[in-house]
Symmetry: C2
Subunit: 105 residues, 2 copies
């Protein structure tokens, strides 16, 4: 495995709703979440998202999403792959995904 | 009436969900919204909320809430009074109030 520390996660049950709202208040993070929602669990590496930010910015956005309990990450060799914590978050914040994933179109 | 300009409002239908999330990502604004939810429409003047911010900070928070389409304000003489835009917001962002008003206790 890589030299990076394993990502630290928050349990959605321990996250205040204002932290969840803050995580989703950013268009880049909302785009990541929407792209993840349309992908199989663990199929998306961090670099695979179509968002207008560089590597450092991207890393920050994933940290915010992870700390808000919305995204889970794990390292597979050199790749860090992702899944949306769909069920856990829905249980604790019912209706959140419906709001966040609606594109309004 | 006072010398202030009338407050400008956004229609909740024109507000992107990330703007709504940003408005509710702050504990002071969440407290204002929760206190408003427990009050009759137009019964609360801006100075009547139990939040730990001064007058300028309070004014900023109300502007953010108004621009996110969540709160409506009108001037009654020297008082600026408020109501939560409960129905309009619920129509456009179903489930938002349930998430925002749950205190988690």
């Amino acid at each position: 495995m890589g030299h990076r520390a394993s990502p630290q996660h928050s349990d959605p049950r321990d996250v205040p709703v204002e932290t969840v709202f803050a995580a989703l208040a950013d268009p880049v993070r909302l785009a990541i979440v929407r792209q993840l929602a349309g992908s199989e669990d663990w199929s998306r590496a961090c670099g695979s998202f179509d968002v207008p930010v560089g590597k450092a910015g991207l890393s920050h956005h994933f940290t915010v999403l992870r700390e808000a309990g919305l995204v889970e990450q794990r390292d597979e060799g050199a790749r860090r792959v992702n899944r949306l914590r769909r069920d856990e978050v829905e249980r604790h914040f019912p209706g959140l995904w419906r709001l966040a994933l609606a594109t309004g179109d």
